[in-house]
C-alpha cells in the first residue's frame, strides 16, 4: 500500500508481471519483447521470469502477431501483444478491425477474444517518421474495441491490469514521451476502472479535456493560467472507449467553457468526437463553442519541427483566451 516514485515504464512492467503471475493464461509476445525486454524495456525480465512459453519473440510481422493472438484468445489464452511503434501497428489493421473487434459479435459471444494490443504511441520524443503517430482515432472509431490511454504511472498500472483481465479486446495506448518521467504512485491501490474519466485538477472558469500525453500539458497550462488568475479544471479522459460522458459533461456544465486537447491530427478524430458530444449534451450550459487544440492535419513532422505540432501551454492558453469571456 506504499506510495513510491516510479516511471510509467516501471508501472507497465509491473502490471504485466503481476498479471502473468496471477493468471497463467496471460502470455506476452511481439517483436523484441523476449530477451531484449522490448525497445522501451516494458517487457523487461518477463521471459526470464516466466519462461519462453509465456513471453516470446515472434517473426517480424504485425498481422501475424495479432492474428495469432486472436487464435490464442479463441482458445483460452489472454495474449498481450506489443506493436513496436504506433505506425507499425498498421499492418495488423485488417486483423484488428475485421476480426479482433468483431469476433465476439460475430459469434453471439461464443468466441471471446480477450487480448490486449499495447501500442507505444504519439510524439514528443524527437523520433523520426513512423515513430510518433497518434493513431487513436482509427481504433476509437472501430466498434468492438476498448481504447485506453493512461497519463500517469498509477493509471498505467491499473488500466493495464484491467485491460488484461477484460473479456474484450483492448487497444492500450502508451504515451512514449511519458514512459520515463517519474511520479508518486501507489500501485496496489490503483483503481482506474475502464470507462471512467478523472478530474485531475479542480477549476471553475473553463474545462480542459485531455488524455494520454496531452494531460501533463493541460495541467501545466492550468497551472500557468492560475498564475494569471484564471481557474482551469482538467479532465483526464483515460478511457476513450467506452467514453465517460457523465464525468466529462458534468465537468463542462460546471464551468460553461471547454477546450479539448490532443496530439493527433484534428480532423475526424477523437477530439472531434469529444467536442461534438460535449456540445450536443451541454449546449445550453456553454458560453462559447468547445474549442480544440490538436495536431494539425499533416503527417507527423520531423524532429526539428515537431514542437509546432504538439499542443503547447501557450496554444492552450491562447485558445482559452478565445472562449468569449464577458469581460474581454
Amino acid at each position: 500500500m506504499a506510495t513510491e516514485k516510479l516511471t510509467m515504464a516501471t508501472a507497465l512492467n509491473r502490471a504485466l508481471r503481476d498479471s502473468m503471475a496471477a493468471d497463467k493464461s496471460v502470455v506476452v509476445f511481439g517483436e523484441d519483447v523476449g530477451p531484449l525486454g522490448g525497445v522501451f524495456r516494458i517487457t523487461d525480465g518477463l521471459s526470464a521470469e516466466f519462461g519462453e512459453d509465456r513471453c516470446f519473440d515472434t517473426p517480424l510481422a504485425e498481422s501475424g502477431i495479432l492474428g495469432m493472438a486472436i487464435g490464442m484468445a479463441m482458445n483460452g489464452m489472454r495474449p498481450v501483444v506489443e506493436m513496436q511503434f504506433d505506425a507499425f501497428a498498421y499492418p495488423a489493421f485488417e486483423q484488428l478491425v475485421s476480426h479482433a473487434a468483431k469476433m465476439r459479435n460475430r459469434t453471439r459471444g461464443r468466441a471471446e477474444v480477450p487480448l490486449v494490443i499495447r501500442v507505444p504511441y504519439a510524439g514528443g520524443i524527437g523520433g523520426v517518421e513512423h515513430h510518433c503517430d497518434s493513431s487513436e482515432a482509427y481504433y476509437a472509431h472501430t466498434p468492438g474495441l476498448h481504447v485506453l490511454a493512461p497519463s500517469c504511472p498509477a493509471d498505467a498500472y491499473g488500466l493495464l491490469r484491467q485491460a488484461i483481465a477484460s473479456p474484450d479486446p483492448v487497444v492500450f495506448l502508451e504515451p512514449k514521451k511519458l514512459y520515463f518521467s517519474r511520479t508518486e504512485a501507489d500501485l496496489d491501490s490503483s483503481v482506474a476502472p475502464i470507462g471512467r474519466a478523472a478530474i485531475r485538477r479542480p477549476g471553475t472558469d473553463a474545462t480542459l479535456i485531455a488524455y494520454g500525453p496531452a494531460v501533463p500539458v493541460a495541467l501545466e497550462a492550468a497551472e500557468a493560467a492560475a498564475q494569471e488568475g484564471r481557474s482551469l479544471q482538467v479532465v483526464d479522459v483515460r478511457s476513450i472507449v467506452p467514453f465517460d460522458d457523465e464525468t466529462v459533461c458534468e465537468a463542462v456544465r460546471s464551468t460553461g467553457r471547454a477546450v479539448v486537447i490532443a496530439e493527433a491530427a484534428g480532423f475526424a478524430s477523437v477530439s472531434s468526437e469529444i467536442a461534438a458530444r460535449v456540445m450536443e449534451r451541454c449546449f445550453h450550459h456553454l458560453h462559447a463553442p468547445v474549442r480544440r487544440v490538436t495536431g494539425f492535419d499533416i503527417p507527423y513532422p520531423p524532429p526539428k519541427l515537431e514542437h509546432f505540432q504538439l499542443p503547447s501551454v501557450d496554444r492552450i492558453l491562447d485558445t482559452v483566451d478565445d472562449l468569449q469571456w464577458e469581460d474581454s
Binding site: 512459453d53 498481422s63 468483431k102 461464443r110 470507462g195
Partner: protein
Amino acid sequence: MLLDPDGNPVGVDLPTDDALIRAYAALVAARRLNDQAYALVRQGRLAVYPSSHGQEACQVAAAHVLSPGDWLFPTYRDTAAIAARGVDPVQALTLLKGDWHSGYDPVATRVAPQATPLATHLLHAVGVAHAGRLRGEDAVVMAICGDGATSEGDFHEALNFAAVFRTPVVFFVQNNEYAISVPLSRQTAAPSLAHKGIGYGIPGERVDGNDIAALLTVLGAAVEKARSGEGPQLVEAHTYRVQAHTNADDASRYRDADEVAPWIARDPITRVETYLRGRGLLDDQKAAGYAASAAEMAEHMRAGLNTDVVADYRDLFAYVYAEPTPQLREQQALVADELTREEVR
C-alpha cells in the same frame, strides 16, 4: 492419385473400405447440400452461395481426417466441410441467410466461423494450435484456403509463424484454378502451390483434389505428422470450381464452357462410386440409402431456412462487448423508443 479418373485403383495404400464408404455417404450429402443451397438462393432464402460443387472430395476429406479434439478453419466456400464435421447445415448457413454473422458455436464445435477476409483465418488457426500446444494438448488444426488466398500477406505470415513455432497446423489449399475470374496463372508463377512450403521449411504435398482416396491418405498423413510434433504441413489439392464463383457471378465472361467439361467428367463422386461398386462395397440399394439420408438433410435445410426469423434489434447491441457501453445502451434505447412509437401509431 490413388483412384484414376475412371475409378480404377492406381495406388497401394488405399484408405480402409469403411473410411471410403463413410466418405462416399458424406460426398453424396455434400453434393446435396450444395444443390439445396443453390436452390435456396434461387428461392430468395439465401443471399448468395459460393458452392463447392465438384470440390466435395476436398470438403469431405478435410473433415474426415480430423479427430474429435481437432479444429477446422473453413472459408466461405467450405459449408460442406463444416457439415461433414457435424455442424448443422442450417446453422452453418445462418451467415448467408442473413440472420446473423455466424450461426454455430465455434468453441463447442471446434469449427471456426467461416472466414471471408481471405487468408486472415490462417493466422487464427496458428494461434489456436499454438495455444493448444502450450497447454500440452495434441489437437491439430486443419486450415483451408483457396488458390487466390495464397497471394495474401497473411498466408505468408501464417505459414511462417507456424513453421517457426512448429505449430500443428495443416494448411490445406483447395486450388480450384480460379479466384472469382482470375486464373491461377495470374496468382503465381511457381511450379505449384505446394512449392510454397519450401520457403518456410514446411513439407508440401500435391494431391488430386477429386480423388477422395488420395485426399484421405495425404491429408490424414499430414494431420498425423502435425500431431506427432513434425510441425505444420502444406497440402495443395488440385481441383476445379465447376460452377461460377457464386450464383451472382457470370463465369462466361472469363472462361469457356470447354474448359469446364473435362472437369465434370472427373467428378469426385462418380469416381469413388465406380470403385466402390467395382469392389462390391456399394450397390443400388445402399446408394439409395445414402441418397435418402442426403435428401433428409436437404429437407431439414429447407425446413430450417424457409423460416422468417423475426430480427431482434437488441442482438445488435448485446454482443459488441461483454457488457454494453453506456453509449450502446443509449443507442439501443433510441431504437426501442422508435419501435414503441411505431407501435402506437
